[in-house]
Symmetry: C2
Subunit: 474 residues, 2 copies
């Protein structure tokens, strides 16, 4: 590759203000929301149209230059960290809502459209976009697809892949593909699912058609207190087994409760070992029935107290607490690190116990606030980064937790992706034969390996090295 | 390849009664449920264990022999038609239910396990397997995965891919992979989705872990009559927009009604232009609320009569009619041919009108009985195969209907797959660049092209030829 030849081609193809090459212009783009990983690319392109994306992909392919794409940069696994020898393509400015279709209940949007902006635009039609990652006021739909993002609503309404019907994608060679359609079933191989969670490694998303969901006529909220974490965990399974799918089913443990309560006085029980916050939505008469059903299950699951939010104000306060939990925990500790793993719902109790026993080994504390209905854990490791070995201990504890998730049949990511952060754990979750299949797919769709290289799928040699290292620690 | 060398290796690896090479032994396996396509393979292997599958894949790979896999052979698109120069691997005898897990709400089964058998085995745990293709008393779970099968329950509970959490798969080279896990989200590329609907072209399924759904406490059934097809079609969209997801939402047109009523006296209105049959399931109190909601929507959508099944006997009779519609229509016509396409739900009215106008062009009649909630149509073309040009006219009408489905944003298959039957229509639904992506995936996972060759993905030359042919007819 020659950086100069590439830049010359990009200058001839793009509006001048789309192409950033000066150090101070590039600085804001050197990392995503996991800033421990950062680097400075050769150039940043702020695309405003699909034609710009095609021009960048074509030029990078011709000059054999790596290409990393990012949306809003809210990712937590360094999936959008630039490559020093490469171009960083930013799609955040491609943020138009192109079409809202009331009859088809879909929205066609550019990849930079912000998650919450889509729901706001659809609200006058009585519709919204259901998946709601906690970054929803900032994160973009293109990034949501790349990470297959989840959120509070995903137990009932599915993660991103269940809420997208079509994509336009630019290939590594600069060709434009239409993938998916307006119907659930499509012939041929499921390229639509394949693009979800592919972290920018298989193609560049330039348009997303999302499915919209009817705004529920009402939402009611229950809060249940438990004297032990395992009883709360078992109640989560019991609710789903009773045939009710809540719109949200969240759990907080004692440390998360006390941090949050001190911060925003949500009205949580300070003597509870765990609380569940449960949203039920739909027609008011239907929600009334579901409330009774869930109250019955909670009663027989050992809840020490079950409260129904009296009004919208109390509901909002309970949720404000849940949503403030991360900054609240941040106040108790100089630093914190949030992990993301999933486990089968009925193993939540085992995993929470294991997390506490691992934490003791490293002299660290862990708070838990998470999407219990999905089994999607977010252990928050509290630490003091000024202690010289703190980051090492945190990293080892995180690895222990993620690898325990794998051991009980779970996985190393619920919604944050692999990126660079979890690339070692891929070697634990998958065999070499399985990693080789991922590589074959990558090579099929990006034969020169230019799209977001070195992310998500580890080299086989690295896998073997990491497995040997972990064995030596056992 | 040398057939003799291959057979020698297979004889050394397999129990003698697994390997069929005599003409009369092979005859029953020459076609699937679309017998217009048939051929005799070199050998049929009746596998009883994964080790047999590995042996066959390894031998075929070594000797460069094509390998077609089939389950129960109930497929309707010739996806399991053998290759004359190849081996046919039958997994129907691998039909054990290996594990039922009440807590995880899953069943681990061999690929030959029959769909309904899984639900029967799970019933004592209060669970069942939701996807229910109309062949469910005979079709196998492995085939359901290969075709990404649907069914009456799929509007509410999803198609096969939403109801499978893990697979064991033998690759073209004979390696065993584990794909997926117990959690919704998995890191890496979505190989689990990729295997669904891949029609045996990417790997051989040797074990399936299906998700189980709680058996509903009650199911109630509504039947609504309409004086015009479009009003019935619009009511389908209105119900979903109202936020209710029925367990089943089926539609029959006048021809289907009269054929069925004559055959089994289900109590359908002979003067209706269309009827909807709607199941609502769940907790009895919740179902009561949903019944009221749906009745309101039906009332304001122009239903001329809405009935609630008085008891289980009446419910069963209405469903018996729906399920007998195909043989009932068969009695009115010497032959019939069932098509499978999907359209966006709000375009059902347009498509049903178009079908009738196309049918006139070819002097044929079409009855419609279908999964309206999913927009999954099953037009049934009635014809007399003894007329010399009948099959040609049927084939052209089917092509017109499928290509109209594409034109309104739909697709050429809901649940029957592409196989050989619809390979031409792939050229209409996809561009060359999109077909090339499918081919790249195929080559990545089956580099020698041995698994079910010539099915599902057409050669580019064939695509161009078919498109030119269709243009010349316009």
């Amino acid at each position: 590759m020659s950086a100069e030849a590439l830049l010359k081609e990009l200058r001839s193809q793009l509006p001048a203000d789309c192409l950033l090459t000066e150090r101070e212009q590039i600085a804001p783009f050197e990392c995503d929301a996991l800033p421990v990983y950062c680097s400075r690319p050769v150039a940043v392109v702020l695309a405003r149209a699909e034609a710009h994306v095609v021009a960048v992909a074509t030029a990078c392919h011709r000059h054999r230059v790596p290409l990393v794409t990012r949306g809003a940069g809210t990712g937590l696994s360094a999936g959008a960290k630039p490559i020093e020898s490469g171009v960083l393509l930013v799609t955040a400015a491609m943020n138009r809502i192109l079409e809202l279709d009331r009859d088809a209940m879909t929205a066609r949007v550019e990849p930079g459209a912000v998650n919450l902006q889509v729901s706001r635009a659809a609200a006058p039609l009585g519709l919204y976009y259901a998946p709601d990652p906690s970054s929803q006021i900032a994160c973009s739909i293109g990034g949501n697809v790349a990470e297959n993002a989840g959120g509070v609503h995903c137990l009932k309404y599915g993660v991103t892949v269940q809420n997208v019907s079509a994509l336009r994608v630019v290939t590594s060679e600069g060709e434009v593909l239409t993938i998916g359609g307006q119907c659930l079933a499509q012939p041929g191989y499921d390229l639509l699912a394949l693009m979800h969670g592919s972290e920018g490694c298989l193609g560049i998303i330039t348009e997303v058609t999302v499915k919209l969901t009817p705004l529920p006529a009402t939402t009611r909220t229950l809060m249940a207190d438990f004297a032990c974490v395992r009883a709360a965990s078992d109640a989560v399974s019991a609710i789903v087994r009773a045939g009710v799918i809540p719109a949200a089913l969240e759990m907080m443990d004692a440390l998360a409760i006390s941090a949050t309560e001190a911060f925003c006085h949500a009205g949580y029980a300070l003597d509870a070992a765990a609380i569940l916050i449960i949203d039920l939505d739909g027609d008011p008469r239907e929600v009334d029935v579901e409330l009774k059903l869930v109250e019955e299950v909670l009663g027989s699951s050992g809840a020490t107290r079950v409260q129904l939010a009296a009004d919208e104000t109390q509901r909002a306060l309970w949720w404000k607490g849940r949503k403030s939990a991360f900054p609240a925990i941040g106040r108790l500790s100089p630093d914190y690190y949030c992990i993301d793993g999933t486990v089968p719902r009925h193993r939540i109790g085992d995993v929470l116990e294991a997390i506490q026993s691992f934490a003791v080994n490293y002299d660290l504390q862990v708070a838990n606030v998470f999407h219990a209905g999905d089994g999607n854990l977010h252990p928050i490791i509290m630490f003091d980064g000024s202690e010289p070995d703190a980051l090492d201990r945190v990293e080892q504890l995180a690895a222990d937790i993620l690898e325990y998730c794998i051991a009980v049949g779970g996985s190393i990511t619920g919604e944050h992706g692999v990126g660079l952060e979890k690339i070692n754990q891929m070697a634990v979750q998958f065999t070499d034969a399985e990693i080789a299949q991922f590589m074959a797919i990558k090579e099929a769709l990006d034969s020169l390996g230019l799209l977001n290289p070195d992310k998500q799928i580890p080299e086989l040699a690295r896998c073997q090295e990491y497995r040997a290292l972990r064995r030596s620690h056992e």
